[in-house]
Amino acid sequence: MARKIMIAVVSIILFLLLFVFSERAYFFISFLIIGLIMLPFFIRFEKRSISAREVVLLAMFIAVAAVSRIPFAALPSIQPTSFIIIMVGIGFGAETGFIVGAVSALVSNLVLGQGPWTPWQMFAWGLMGMTAGIMSHYLQQRWQRLLFGFIWGFLFGWTMNLWVLTTQIDNLTLELIIGIYAASFVHDFSHALSNVVLLFIFSSSFLMIFKRLKRKYGVLVNK
């Protein structure tokens, strides 16, 4: 009972806040909007019937994505997390791709430190996994995967730039927008390149691993 009252109180407060715009409210509202966009995916995940094996497998991918930076400590420009999320999307479909992408962001930030960008990261990685799943049919050739990874290197950065923009609503000028996107170019390009390199060398062998897994244990067969 107490719990229900609490939840009601908290949500009423949040709701009222929406009516009391202050300058920074955009920033705050962008949180809510991102949350609302992602909510249906999570609700779908909650409602779907799912076996213990699938839950554990998802958790395992999320954990792998979170620790995947460790072996690359000496190679700071390589971003294996995106690679893994893309591969999971291709291998196990859009819904799995989204959940793994979004929750990976949350979990790896629990290790690296959360910030106001976490929801945006969840969103961007979630979409990355989801689109990989949706398009998995067109990603069977290696060059297609390379192209996909290259594009997403930029899309990811651009989505994160949107987050930067929400902090700058009162400041917003065309100049600023161009400046931010230009400034992130090098970083985005290296992300894209890292995706391409990893996908080039390893995407085929990862698909083999997934295939073996599906055959041996009959889990998460792509519908």
Binding site: V56, S205, M208, I209, R212, G218
Partner: protein, 545 residues
């Protein structure tokens, strides 16, 4: 409790049945030991009994649980009544903290908080784990993890407990603790317990009935003494590996072995030996290994993971010479693996000096070293055994042939095209050994090579190691398998509190201990066999009339 009629089972791609027309009936309140060589279908049978975890495949025949076909029971009922525990404590943990892990099953069954609190309080007290409740699960030792898991299953108040090699990862002390708890559950609560194990010595003392499977059928069954007697009578040598040394000695040497007098406990053995042997205390002189050329030298090595945590190794000194067969004996979490990793330069000692081939461990020194990890899985990088072996070949020399020869030597040539993970545990180990030997190392480091092996495979491993040692390979092993050490290792050191406390020829180190010694030696104390550790020695030293 369970009745099986004509049960056969076949895995999807397999060409023969794993279980073959099995007839079996298990009564309520029985303590059953299931044993048999690796691959005989123990795990398959246990999983079929749980029904919830039944593997994919073709099942025929009839299985009754409490007189009702098992497939008519709901999963919910079955998971409440049948608890299952497997051999890897680490993989069975699903939650970050102990308390969450404990209540996980209760939450799944929709119990109320009040009920959960009651059960946790009661059993937590019984198991004395109050101080663990809020720890992180990955901070527990293997033994503690297995206890926590056992408790988390018992909280559901099952009627049947099914355990698949629950102690294979544990040292003798932890293993005994788990088995004692099982014995208590059986005695006090009348719980039905079905346990599959390779380490049978202690279980023979406490179980009501032994079932030995081989090739998917029941080979022997009966109470422990029946079973031992039948095993001994059978012509097949591979079954003799299952006999505990004391019982084996009795059956070999007693004038008229009587089934009901077969010694199961150390005490039984002592009584028998005292009656038959002259009372005389003999000390045996053991030879020393020629100690010439040190290969591994550790001097005053200290190691800790973080400044405020206790040191794992504490001013430890150790020298291993060329031609040694050296074993470091120690319990779970005593730092054995850490010690090996320090010898190999994988972990850097915080203080002290480490030398491998009389220099700092580095790349060229490591090329003369073979290292078999505790989990052989960690060794594999490729998707077939063949690729795995090819990766170990040096460029140039006639690799292929060398490889085939090595595969033949270890009897793994039929596995070459297989994925390494599809091999059984013992096969994986043999593959790793074969891979390591392709580099012709001067020294082999083995981390717990015997765990999870059936007695026969253990003998086989012992033979391989002895042969290698004869060829001049220096072997360093860490282990807590006392029988294996007594049989094969030449020198040993006891790792305790971060130091090698006792060191010397294996015989000297193991003699006169209370716990770190073989059952045989404990039973024979004070008789003319008092210097004997292993069955082989006992048979040789047996006084002829």
């Amino acid at each position: 409790m369970f009745q099986l009629y004509d049960v056969s089972f076949r895995y999807p791609d397999a060409n023969k049945d794993v279980l073959n027309q099995l007839h079996l009936s298990i009564n309520a309140g029985e303590f059953i030991l299931l044993t048999g060589p690796s691959g005989c279908g123990k795990t398959t049978l246990l999983r079929l009994l749980t029904s919830v975890l039944r593997p994919i495949g073709e099942l025929s025949g009839e299985m009754l649980y409490q007189n009702k076909p098992i497939h008519l029971w709901s999963d919910e009922q079955l998971t409440k009544q049948i608890g299952f525990i497997s051999q890897h404590p680490e993989e069975q943990m699903v939650m970050p903290t102990v308390i969450q892990e404990l209540v996980f099953g209760l939450e799944n069954h929709g119990l109320s908080t009040v009920e959960m609190r009651k059960r946790v309080a009661e059993l937590g007290h019984f198991f004395k784990i109050e101080n663990l409740l809020y720890k992180k699960t990955d901070a527990l030792s293997g033994g503690e993890q297995q206890l926590v898991h056992l408790l988390s299953v018992l909280l559901l108040r099952p009627k049947v407990l099914i355990l698949d090699e629950p102690t294979s990862q544990l040292d003798p002390v932890h293993a005994k603790h788990v088995l004692q708890i099982l014995e208590q559950l059986h005695h006090d609560l009348g719980m039905t317990i079905i346990i599959a194990e390779h380490r049978v010595d202690h279980l023979f003392q406490i179980c009501d009935r032994v079932i030995m499977l081989d090739e998917g059928t029941v080979r022997f069954t009966g109470n422990s003494r029946d079973m031992l007697y039948q095993l001994f009578q059978s012509r097949e040598i591979k079954y003799h590996a299952y006999l505990p040394d004391l019982a084996h000695l009795y059956l070999e040497k007693a004038q008229q072995p009587i089934k009901d007098n077969i010694p199961l406990t150390v005490n039984d053995g002592r009584v028998w030996l005292k009656q038959t042997l002259p009372m005389r205390d003999s000390k045996r002189q053991s030879r020393n290994v020629e100690q010439e050329q040190p290969i591994v030298t550790l001097k005053d090595v200290t190691f800790y993971f973080s400044k405020n945590a206790p040191s794992i190794l504490n001013r430890l000194s150790l020298t291993i010479y060329k031609g040694d067969f050296y074993t470091i004996i120690g319990g779970n979490a005593s730092g054995k693996t850490t010690l090996l990793e320090i010898c190999l330069g994988i972990k850097k000692a915080k203080r002290g000096r480490v030398e491998l081939f009389q220099e700092k461990p580095h790349k060229t020194a490591l090329s003369r070293v073979g290292f078999m990890p505790q989990q052989p899985q960690a060794f594999f990088m490729y998707d077939t055994v063949e690729k795995e072996m090819q990766a170990m070949l040096n460029q140039g020399d006639d690799g292929e042939q060398h490889m085939i020869k090595m595969a033949k030597r270890f009897n793994v040539e039929h596995l070459l095209q297989q994925h390494p993970y599809d091999c059984s545990y013992g096969e994986m180990q043999k593959v790793v050994l074969a891979c390591l030997l392709l580099r012709q190392p001067d020294i082999l480091f083995l981390d717990e090579p015997t765990k999870g092996l059936d007695p026969f495979a253990k003998k086989e491993l012992g033979r391989y190691l002895t042969a290698l040692h004869k060829e001049g390979v220096t072997i360093v092993m860490v282990s807590h398998d006392i029988d294996f050490i007594a049989n094969y290792s030449k020198r040993s050191g006891l790792l305790f509190a971060g130091e090698v406390t006792t060191e010397g020829p294996t015989h000297t180190v193991l003699q006169d201990n209370y716990f770190y010694t073989t059952d045989l030696s404990r039973a024979a104390r004070g008789t003319s066999l008092s210097s004997v550790l292993t069955l082989e020695e006992a048979l040789q030293a047996w006084p002829e009339k």
